[in-house]
């Protein structure tokens, strides 16, 4: 065998009467590999970019208040602006440069994606509403913006997305989301410094691991 046959000039509906079984097997492997690449939810370089967003965004916020002992005023306004700015730029770059793997995919996939949108919006709005309520009730900055802010909305959004990953049987993605939740939850034991610093660093490492796993999976596919 010299590899899968290429179809440079597609034939008619009556073609291929002489398709060899070996060629058919190779064609099936090649087609399945190409299709999985096309439908791959996230390319490795997108995961690397997301890792950078966590490291730079969360790291910037941590950097702005790292010397506050005790925690009093919280992160600087500019650092929060940098965090959201980095997230927005990343979102725009990804949407412009990388084709959506779900483009043209509908049916159950579309319904599940719509469900994810609703679940994610509910999780995010719910988590941020509680944060507002905590501040309204007079809880201190350290809890509301130092510990809750960087972790609980992230946990809520990841939990909603994990449900989607489980429904799609995307076990690698489910593992990554559970790892992010574990990192964010565990980091709260180290106060605001841990919540911002360790969540940023930990999620960066998790996403780099995810990128490596995606690369291996794509090579093996």
């Amino acid at each position: 065998m010299n590899g899968p046959p290429k179809v440079d000039h597609p034939g008619t509906a009556e073609d291929d009467g002489g398709l060899d079984p070996r060629e058919a097997a190779a064609l099936m492997d090649e087609t399945a590999r190409q299709a999985r690449r096309e439908f791959q939810p996230h390319a490795p370089h997108v995961a690397v970019g997301a890792a950078g967003v966590f490291l730079f965004g969360y790291g910037t916020v941590w950097w702005s208040f790292r010397d506050q002992h005790p925690y009093t005023t919280g992160p600087a306004g500019w650092s929060i602006a940098v965090l959201y700015g980095v997230i927005m730029v990343f979102g725009i770059v990804v949407s412009l440069l990388f084709p959506r793997p779900n483009k043209g995919v509908g049916g159950r996939a579309r319904r599940q994606l719509n469900g994810l949108g609703v679940a994610g919006a509910a999780a995010g709005i719910g988590a941020w509403t509680v944060q507002g309520a905590l501040r309204y009730l007079g809880y201190n900055f350290e809890l509301v913006y130092g510990i809750y802010g960087p972790t609980v909305p992230l946990i809520a959004l990841c939990a909603a997305t994990a449900g989607y990953a489980a429904a799609r049987e995307q076990w690698l993605e489910l593992g990554v989301l559970v790892a992010v939740i574990a990192v964010a939850a565990g980091s709260t034991f180290f106060g605001p410094w841990g919540a911002w610093g360790l969540t940023g660093l930990g999620c960066c490492l998790v996403l780099l691991g995810y990128a490596a796993a995606l690369s291996i999976r794509l090579r093996r596919a």
Binding site: P10, G11, D15, D16, L19, L27, Q34, A35, V105, G107
Partner: protein
Amino acid sequence: MTAETTEPLDPVIHATTRLRIMVTLATLNEGDTLSFTRLQDMLDLTPGNLITHLRKLEDADYIHTAKTGAGTASQTTVTLTHQGRAALDSYTQALRKLLSGL
């Protein structure tokens, strides 16, 4: 290739283009649909050629096509049916048996 060797293979699937269509659709989860244009882009086929092969597969109840919308906003989607997925599994098994005997 002799006719005897290829006899156990489903002739509806055992053709380059239709095999690629079936395998591509099978990589999606059951119940997912794929738009005609995305499928055409992925397989690098002309619309007429793709339609012809899809019609053959639909006649065998291996795929289901549906048209939504009207005019320029219309979209045709393609789904691998349960029967089509089973037929592809059978085809794969038959192919493995053939290859193990070669």
